[in-house]
Symmetry: C2
Subunit: 118 residues, 2 copies
């Protein structure tokens, strides 16, 4: 999986939010993927739990805005972004790890209360 | 370990580069810490290997500049920054994980060739 492919998944992820597309979420994540958002909270395991998570986010019309270039390294990408949720903005960093088929096998989101900027 | 303590370690890390201080590196990292820079390369294990890594960096007068707020979550912090190495600038993201004593037990650096910006 080359750098362009990993960066394309990040773009697809931003698009999934912009279009509230659960279909794109299914394309992005492996069926046995894990999701920890924020890091330190309970880990969601498997595509059903992951879809439930994004369904809730999309119902709240959350959108994402990249705050810099994706950093691709090894089987992973880390990227800084802003979450727009109603009037609230949160600066976060996500780390995706990819399996050999190019699907995300692990998503970890780093953010805390002090990253709520408005 | 609260958020302010984790953010303070990030500040100390930036200061370590600014002052070429191996003493600060010893304060930051656990003796059995691991370092993977960039992610996907060989993992350096233990404080001696870590000090060797930073000694080389400091000899090249590398400095760091934060590109946004540290994102503290769980036992970890992720932060975006720019590496200034001579005329070269690299946009990276580091993730530190902390042990119960507040020392960094794991450092992972996410960056690739496409993150070299000048």
């Amino acid at each position: 999986m080359d750098t362009a492919d990993k960066a394309a998944v990040v773009d697809k992820y931003v698009t999934a939010f912009a279009t509230s597309s659960i279909d794109l979420i299914r394309e992005i994540f492996a069926t046995d993927a894990t999701l920890e958002d924020p890091v330190g909270s309970d880990v969601r395991v498997g595509i059903d739990a992951i879809i439930e998570f994004y369904t809730n986010a999309f119902e709240m019309n959350v959108t994402l805005e990249l705050l810099g270039a994706p950093r691709c390294a090894g089987n992973a990408v880390a990227f800084p972004f802003q979450v727009n949720a109603g009037g609230m903005k949160i600066e976060a960093i996500d780390v995706f790890e990819f399996g050999p088929d190019g699907k995300v096998t692990s998503m970890k989101a780093y953010w805390g209360a002090e990253n709520i900027v408005t």
